[in-house]
């Protein structure tokens, strides 16, 4: 049972504020992913929770008790580092046993715990080796084992699989998820890889320049991004964002992408939902590539567009369509658009469209 709460946390490195008034509540057993670009303050936040970094203001509470003045050894939190940080002069066994031995647990107990965790992580046959003789994935298993072996209140992971190659990363991702489901402990995981975040998290916390942008389940964050940053950071391929105007014609709403002669048809209620913002301008339309529907024949609501670049990705293609002065990327069946330069027809799925205030970047919260 571990809850972690951050209240109004502020952190400066000299004159630079790296964490700006961060508030976050993490429930017991939750898998939280801190997601953001490098330098956004996510690792600093994690290190502050661990006690490796002091904070300048605010409270960090573990199970309701403030811990910001405690040393990391008194917070009972385990951490897995990106660089693994295995002790190079010790065997795998000694590495995993280290946190137990450091707190003077009886020898038999240590042995039992180490072998048990090694079995869970499937590294029993590696126990006698030195870290230098291990592959990247195994090193990370050992690092995770060292963190889990003492049953900490919470697990912190700082880009634990960032240093591995793509295939191994996918494997370890599945393994971390399996372990979390099996061992179940409150986990905070830092990454800049949104796919990792989506696949692992119970809730994702997106940070940008030290400011918390949005907290939500992966599907919430994907389907209802709070602002342009989140919209473009989460999801691959990236969401299309284009300046657009909304007008009324023939009893329906028209969304015209900047520079385009014609607008895409939207349900009439869009106008009332936008609540007068339509005419004020400064709107951005956001739509994920799967929300751009491409057809070979003209149909109701379809606009003629020209395909520019086709990226075949195997299971699907990404096609760049020139609409006005903007490019909209659409996701199609592979091979659907044969050649760059082909004339196709496109329409937008109103249910997947997002509208943002261009200036502030905030979502207008319009869902059709």
């Amino acid at each position: 049972m571990t809850q972690i709460e951050l209240r109004g946390v502020q952190k400066y490195f000299g004159a630079v504020q790296v964490i700006k008034n961060l508030n976050l509540k993490i429930e017991d057993n939750e898998f939280i992913v801190l997601l953001g670009q490098s330098g956004c303050g996510k690792t600093t936040t994690l290190r502050a929770i661990a006690g490796l970094e002091t904070i300048d203001d605010g409270d960090i509470l573990i199970d309701g008790a403030p811990v910001q003045h405690l040393k990391c050894s008194d917070r009972d939190i385990a951490m897995v580092f990106q660089s693994f940080s295995l002790y190079p002069h010790m065997t795998v066994y000694e590495n995993i046993a280290f946190p137990l031995r450091a707190t003077r647990i009886s020898r038999g107990e240590v042995d039992k715990e180490v072998r048990e965790i090694a079995k869970v992580l499937r590294i029993t046959d590696l126990l006698g080796r030195k870290p230098s003789a291990l592959s990247g994935g195994d090193m990370q298993r050992v690092a995770i084992g060292r963190a889990l072996v003492r049953r900490p209140k919470a697990m912190l992971m700082d880009e634990p699989i960032g240093a591995l190659d793509a295939k191994l990363r996918e494997e370890m991702r599945a393994e971390i998820k399996r372990l979390h489901l099996k061992q179940g402990s409150t986990t905070i995981y830092v990454t800049h890889d949104q796919i990792e975040a989506m696949s692992l998290a119970d809730r994702i916390v997106i940070m940008h320049e030290g400011i918390l942008q949005q907290v939500g389940t992966p599907s919430e964050v994907y389907a209802h991004p709070a602002n342009l940053f989140v919209a473009q950071f989460v999801g691959s391929p990236v969401m299309n964002v284009a300046p657009a105007t909304v007008s009324e014609s023939a009893g329906a709403a028209q969304v015209t992408v900047e520079g385009a002669g014609q607008g895409f048809a939207f349900p009439r209620e869009l106008l009332s939902r936008l609540n007068g913002k339509a005419s004020a301008g400064g709107l951005s339309l956001g739509i994920r590539p799967e929300g751009v529907i491409v057809a070979h024949q003209a149909g109701d609501g379809f606009l003629p567009v020209e395909a520019h670049i086709i990226e075949p990705l195997g299971s699907y293609d990404i096609v760049d369509l020139k609409v006005g002065s903007q490019m909209l990327r659409a996701r199609t069946r592979s091979g659907y658009v044969a050649n760059a330069g082909d004339r196709v027809y496109a329409k937008l799925d109103p249910a997947q469209a997002h509208f943002f205030d261009t200036e502030s970047g905030n979502s207008l919260g319009v869902r059709l």
């Binding site: 009972d76 002069h89 280290f98 946190p99 031995r101 450091a102 060292r146």
Partner: protein, 301 residues
């Protein structure tokens, strides 16, 4: 093979226009050194090996007679020589242990962000850069029982450092510790700053206390470089001559090299002293070898 790793001479260079080739330039630089080494090191070494089997005395014109292993037998059966070795061993242990404790301790203190760290480190290195003879003469003054600074500062009255037979060897060791701790400190500092910071962070997260962290993380990781410092200092301490010779002439401070010096240049037992020199050489090699074996074991980890 050797030419493969050598950079070739630029054909347009001045050296090339004077008709020098790569090989001739290499020889120009290397041959003088090799000649010097052979004349002043290798030749005496081999020549003295020959003398060590004779009763040669450099002070007379009498021809050297071959006596076989008689010199070695006499030396190894001489209780006075063994007492010289015992004194040397005591001196080596006290002096090297002291240097490691002081040097490593100071290195631990310096291994953090402190103002003027570079300046402090440089100042601490000064003793090491002085000449042995100068250090010996200075400390002789410092140790002076009636007006020496040491007794004055420590309030020891007329405590006799160098003329007290039981204290003199320690007094020399203290001087050696003062002079050579910076060397151990310098190497330890290099070793300590090479320990990755994230290992300390991991240890802190793993709830290791300061002592546990020191003995399980810091010390094992610095051990190889500390071992190199210990090898150097042991070899040097074993061969100590200047400090002991200048500071004291007590029989209790007669380390092996002083005995060797007296035997060779005061008693003129040239053949015998060559044999003793070889015994010392073999001992130093043996001790060093033990350390090197251990060093390799440490490095394997």
């Amino acid at each position: 093979m050797a030419t493969a790793v050598m950079t070739t001479l630029d054909p347009k260079s001045r050296a090339a226009s004077r008709g020098l080739s790569d090989i001739s330039i290499r020889n120009l630089f290397i041959i003088p050194t090799i000649v010097f080494l052979i004349v002043f090191n290798i030749f005496p070494l081999l020549y003295s090996l020959g003398y060590s089997f004779t009763d040669f005395r450099a002070s007379t014109n009498a021809p050297a007679n071959f006596v076989g292993l008689a010199n070695y037998r006499a030396l190894l059966n001489d209780p006075f020589i063994w007492s010289n070795f015992a004194i040397t061993a005591k001196y080596v242990i006290v002096s090297v242990a002291g240097q490691v404790l002081v040097g490593f301790g100071v290195a631990m203190l310096l291994n953090r962000a402190i103002p003027f760290k570079g300046l402090i480190t440089t100042l601490l290195l000064l003793p090491m850069m002085l000449s042995m003879a100068v250090v010996g003469l200075f400390w002789k003054l410092l140790y002076n029982p009636s007006w020496g600074v040491i007794n004055y500062v420590l309030g020891l009255g007329n405590f006799e450092w160098l003329s007290n037979p039981d204290m003199a060897l320690y007094a020399i060791a203290i001087t050696d510790i003062w002079m050579w701790s910076p060397f151990v400190m310098l190497l330890s500092l290099a070793g300590l700053s090479a320990v990755p910071k994230h290992l300390y962070e991991a240890a802190a997260i793993d709830r290791a206390g300061p002592f546990y962290t020191f003995f399980r993380i810091t010390l094992p990781l610095v051990a190889p470089i500390l071992m190199i410092a210990i090898i150097f200092r042991t070899m040097e301490a074993f061969k100590t001559f200047d400090l002991a010779y200048i500071l004291s002439s007590q029989p209790t401070t007669e380390v092996i090299s002083i005995r060797l010096y007296k035997m060779a240049f005061q008693e003129w037992q040239t053949g015998m002293s060559c044999a003793l020199a070889y015994i010392v050489l073999i001992m130093v090699l043996a001790i060093t070898n033990i350390y090197v074996k251990y060093l390799n074991k440490v490095k394997e980890r």
